[in-house]
Symmetry: C2
Subunit: 381 residues, 2 copies
């Protein structure tokens, strides 16, 4: 069986569409990966995630190492078996979240010692430990352990941080390769760093290419720099990466962020936005995001989005969703998450089709014009 | 089409099994009705409620009249359309919850004036208004508006309360009948009161029979009197009710309560216990209730109940459920609710089959022996 193969079927300007073939299934690109932080895509059953068209989900090393622990998940047969998801899973390295969530962090050349944000227990993450955890989880796509350079950073700070990440990238490669059985059926991605400095991104890329990875992530973006700086960075950072390997923009993003990144040659995305928004009542629609808790939806018999074919839009009105959210009923986040993840997967399918047809620029322009045009007028029941 | 027809197919001692035929579907008895308080069986999709085998659910007049209001639901085409549940719905009258939840209640011969426990807004419930609300909701089985006599009550208090409920029962009948179109496709149940006094239960029954209802509920039980007193009351209160009409024990209960009541001739039940317990981590099993949050389940690869065929037991381990509950993941209540409602529906199916086979006493004894025997020993992953 194919361990990992990336086949590009069409390109359109800088955008590409294709498929990543892995043992647990195909990943159509550009791909959006719903985030399953703690072994569950929040408020969704595995069946409903599958129904949205997702080919792959993301699991968080940091959360899972603390609860229920990687060793425990391994004893259950791995994360796929534990959570009943049989398609591919990408796991992050834990590097980003240990810096954003953990307490009393101490970073050294070796790695990061920290205390759990949940119970204060002491832990350590390093390239070797992160590789081991991702192997215990049975991850399909393993991420190298790195430091996500904070924004803003001076060139000297960014260089020092990037260089550490590159030494860790080599150790991540060695750690991954040491787990022979797992390495034979999974893939390892390296992560380009260098903040907003082109020469550092170039230097980072050369380092990664020397080591060699199955795919390359663009790190250190979506950390507060704003869309304009992110797109400017992608303009030069993406073409540096090899054309024949998947490119993954971590933690991105809003629909317009994703479209802009796909136009610049990115193939993979993950973000908590669709599921997190669902839990606060925000729904994504072809006419832009709307707050379903707003009183104007109370008497509205229409679905969230008349162009959407998800279960929520097939069977439920805006008025019903408004009621559920106002009553804090669990069914509210359940139905909203189904819709939002479907919206994201439909966007990815639209991008894939448009790239195949050679009309991605028009697709993007039409989508964004409608998306920024605002919701249709209120309709009373 | 049949408006309402109760066909008993078998009896076994005092227990009966059969079917209630209504326009929206058959209700197999003895029946357990999951509670859909605010237009949703909490944490469950309609599809998963159907998959448990439920033929009917219950909606709460008090909750729905406050949010989103009966008039609003009517504008959406009724409760079935609003919540996407096409099988029968029984609605309570609001009488019980206005006394247990509302603020600043004032009860008169006319009805009960009160303030919402949510926002303090002023409302009124009476036999006529309760009938109107249940008609606006499009209820299939409408309950008469009554006062649930508190426990304990003196005989004088119980008599006064019951007599008021009987005057309200007549007004409920008139209110129901005044909605001709709705009355032509739905049913009205009266509620026997009289606390723990046989003569009052008898008097109440005679009053109800004079008015005439499609079915009869036994009210004023499961209000803190305990199982022994409840069963003692059922021993004389149930046989008073007509044999050819369904008998409904409101708000009951634990599995052993239901079994004892079925043995005494009750046909219908509702209770929040399986769904509420699910949200606090309690799972019902053939060996008794267990707390899935308990650390002993952390490494357990077995399902909640190896004899259960629900989706949760098919696809998920105790260890995974323990993890979800400890992490406050929404999927925890979702999967636990599916299991608990399935457990209740399987109990009802077991009772129906046993009554048909004439072995209900043995079924009850075997079930209770196992149920009280405790969980199987811990098994480590």
């Amino acid at each position: 069986m194919t361990r990992f193969k990336f086949e590009i079927s069409a390109t359109d300007c800088n955008a590409r569409t294709g498929v990543i073939k892995m043992q647990r299934g195909d990943i159509r690109t550009p791909a959006f990966m719903p985030v399953g932080t703690a072994g569950t895509v929040k408020a969704m059953t595995v069946e409903s995630v599958l129904e949205t068209g997702a080919d792959i989900i993301l699991g968080n090393t940091y959360h899972l190492m603390l609860r229920p622990t990687a060793e425990r998940i391994h004893n259950f047969g791995g994360l796929h078996q534990f959570m009943n998801w049989q398609k591919p899973i990408l796991t992050d390295s834990g590097g980003y979240q240990v810096m954003s969530l953990a307490k009393l962090r101490k970073m050294t050349e070796e790695g990061v010692a920290f205390q759990s944000h949940i119970d204060g227990s002491k832990h350590m993450l390093s390239p070797e430990r992160s590789s081991e955890i991702q192997r215990l989880l049975g991850s399909d796509i393993v991420m190298a352990f790195d430091e996500c350079t904070p924004f803003p950073a001076t060139e000297a700070e960014a260089a020092k941080s990037m260089e550490l990440s590159m030494r860790w990238a080599k150790r991540s490669r060695d750690g991954f390769d040491s787990g022979q059985e797992h390495a034979g059926r999974s893939a390892l991605f390296g992560i380009q760093q260098g903040s907003m400095f082109k020469c550092l991104r170039q230097q980072s890329t050369e380092n990664l290419l020397d080591i060699g990875f199955d795919g390359y992530a663009i790190g250190g973006l979506a950390v507060g720099e704003g869309q304009e700086i992110m797109f400017n960075t992608l303009d030069y950072a993406t073409p540096m990466l090899p054309e024949d390997k998947p490119r993954y923009l971590m933690g991105v993003g809003k629909p317009d962020d994703i479209i802009g990144a796909v136009l610049r040659g990115v193939d993979m995305f993950d973000c908590v936005l669709p599921t997190r928004s669902a839990r606060t009542g925000q729904a994504f629609t072809s006419r832009g995001p709307i707050n379903m808790k707003n009183a104007r939806h109370k008497d509205d018999t229409r679905p969230i989005d008349e162009n959407c074919s998800c279960q929520t839009c097939r069977d439920y009105s805006r008025g019903y969703l408004n009621h559920l959210i106002r009553c804090d009923e669990i069914l509210g986040p359940m139905l909203m998450s189904i819709h939002n993840i479907t919206f994201y997967q439909n966007l990815m399918q639209g991008l894939r089709d448009a790239i195949s047809a050679g009309v991605v620029q028009k697709f993007a322009a039409d989508f964004l014009a409608k998306y920024r045009g605002g919701d249709v007028p209120e309709i009373k029941a």
